[in-house]
Every structure is written in structure tokens, then in C-alpha cells.
Amino acid sequence: MSIKIRYFASLKESLGRSEDTLLADGLASVREVWQQANPELVLPDRILVAINQDYASLNDQVNDGDEVAFFPPVTGG
């Protein structure tokens, strides 16, 4: 399966990249997507996640073709 990963704001800066494309089989959850893409990094506290531009939780299932995003607390307005 293919997952597009996007990173934003301070997370993007600390990782040094804005996206990854993950090609892997048997990815179950958002948490596993992070671990595969960033094997040496613990997921930061208070990070928010979205699947296909809707908020999701770390245990939510991902599917082939999904866009998974990780980002810090939002600060608009």
C-alpha cells in the first residue's frame, strides 16, 4: 500500500522535510505510519493527526492511497 505523509509548521522544520511517501504492506494505524516513516523518532506529545484532511486518532486505521498528516496544535485566527 501507498501512503502520502505530510508534516506542517514546527514539526516540518524539525524533521527537515514536508512530506514522505510510504510504500509498505500491512500498515494498520496512524501510529505505525509514523513509526515506519520516522523509525528513530518518538512521536512528539500533543501532535495532531489527520487522515484525508479529517482529524483522526493515532489508532485509526489507514488505507491504501490515504493522505496522513502530522502537525502541532493549530494557532490560527
Binding site: 505530510r6 506542517f8 509548521a9 514546527s10 489527520a50 484532511q53 479529517d54 482529524y55 498528516a69 502537525f71 502541532p72 496544535p73 493549530v74 494557532t75 490560527g76 485566527g77
Partner: protein, 151 residues
């Protein structure tokens, strides 16, 4: 109901007038309009700020804002609503956000406008990065409850 995310600076009062005229909103039904404008301050969290860059998640931003407008319409009697939010480079005194709600009655206009602002602050994927006078820059960490900060 319109949601706009723009890199262009905008005059909030002019935008409201244009929208109101184009939508022909003043047709005898509107009794109450509540408008919130967020503008950039030159001082935040103890430091002088000279500019700000607003990053966002194109696509998700619009989707979340449209969801919030739909939720507001389910809860209150709203005739129309307009949300405009800046992204990119912003300078002090420029408008960052505009939320306008037109309704027959004032309770609906006030409640829906405030709901939209709080939803925007907690759900819409925008991130502010401040450029300080000191030449440092920093990400704003978290939105507040909207009152004077304790600092």
C-alpha cells in the same frame, strides 16, 4: 455561506460590504449582523513582533472551516456567513481573520459568530510563526482562551 483563504491583504469592512451587496443580503430579513475581526498586534507574549507568517494545510483548512459553518447552521438560525482568513506574510494592524454572520435575531448572530471563531481557533489547520524585533523567530505554541494572558 462563503469561506475564503487568501494570501492577499484585505480590508475587512470593504469585504463585508461587497459580500452583503453581492449576496443581496439586505432584503428585509436581516435583523442582526455580528462581525469579528482579528488583527495582528505588534506585541505578543512579552515580545515585540514585526511580522508573522501564517502557514496552513491547503484543502484541509477549507474543509474544516466549511464543516464549522455547517455545524453553526445546525445550531442557530443563520441567514448567511462569511469567513476570510489570511495566510502567508502578515504585518501589524493587518486583518488576519474575518467572521461575519447575518441572522434575523441577535442571539443567533452573536452565538454563531463566536462559535465559528472558537471552532476556527481550535480546528482549522493554521500555524503562526512570529518574526520578532530581536530578529529571532518563533512558532506560536498554542491558542489562548481569548482573554488577556497571565504574563
Amino acid at each position: 455561506m462563503t469561506v475564503i483563504v487568501t494570501e492577499q491583504s484585505f480590508d475587512p469592512w470593504q469585504e463585508i460590504q461587497n459580500y452583503q451587496n453581492a449576496a443581496n443580503l439586505l432584503d428585509g430579513q436581516v435583523g442582526a449582523t455580528d462581525v469579528f475581526i482579528g488583527t495582528m498586534r505588534d506585541f505578543n507574549d512579552g515580545s515585540e513582533v514585526q511580522a508573522m507568517t501564517l502557514e496552513h494545510y491547503p484543502g484541509m483548512t477549507e474543509k474544516q472551516l466549511e464543516n464549522s459553518v455547517a455545524e453553526a447552521r445546525q445550531q442557530w438560525q443563520v441567514l448567511d456567513a462569511l469567513v476570510i482568513h489570511r495566510v502567508g506574510d502578515i504585518f501589524p494592524n493587518e486583518a488576519i481573520v474575518l467572521v461575519a454572520v447575518w441572522a434575523a435575531h441577535r442571539g443567533d448572530a452573536f452565538d454563531a459568530c463566536r462559535y465559528l471563531m472558537e471552532a476556527l481557533k481550535t480546528k482549522a489547520p493554521f500555524w503562526k510563526k512570529e518574526r520578532l524585533i530581536s530578529a529571532d523567530s518563533r512558532w506560536v505554541k498554542e491558542n489562548t482562551d481569548g482573554y488577556k494572558s497571565a504574563k
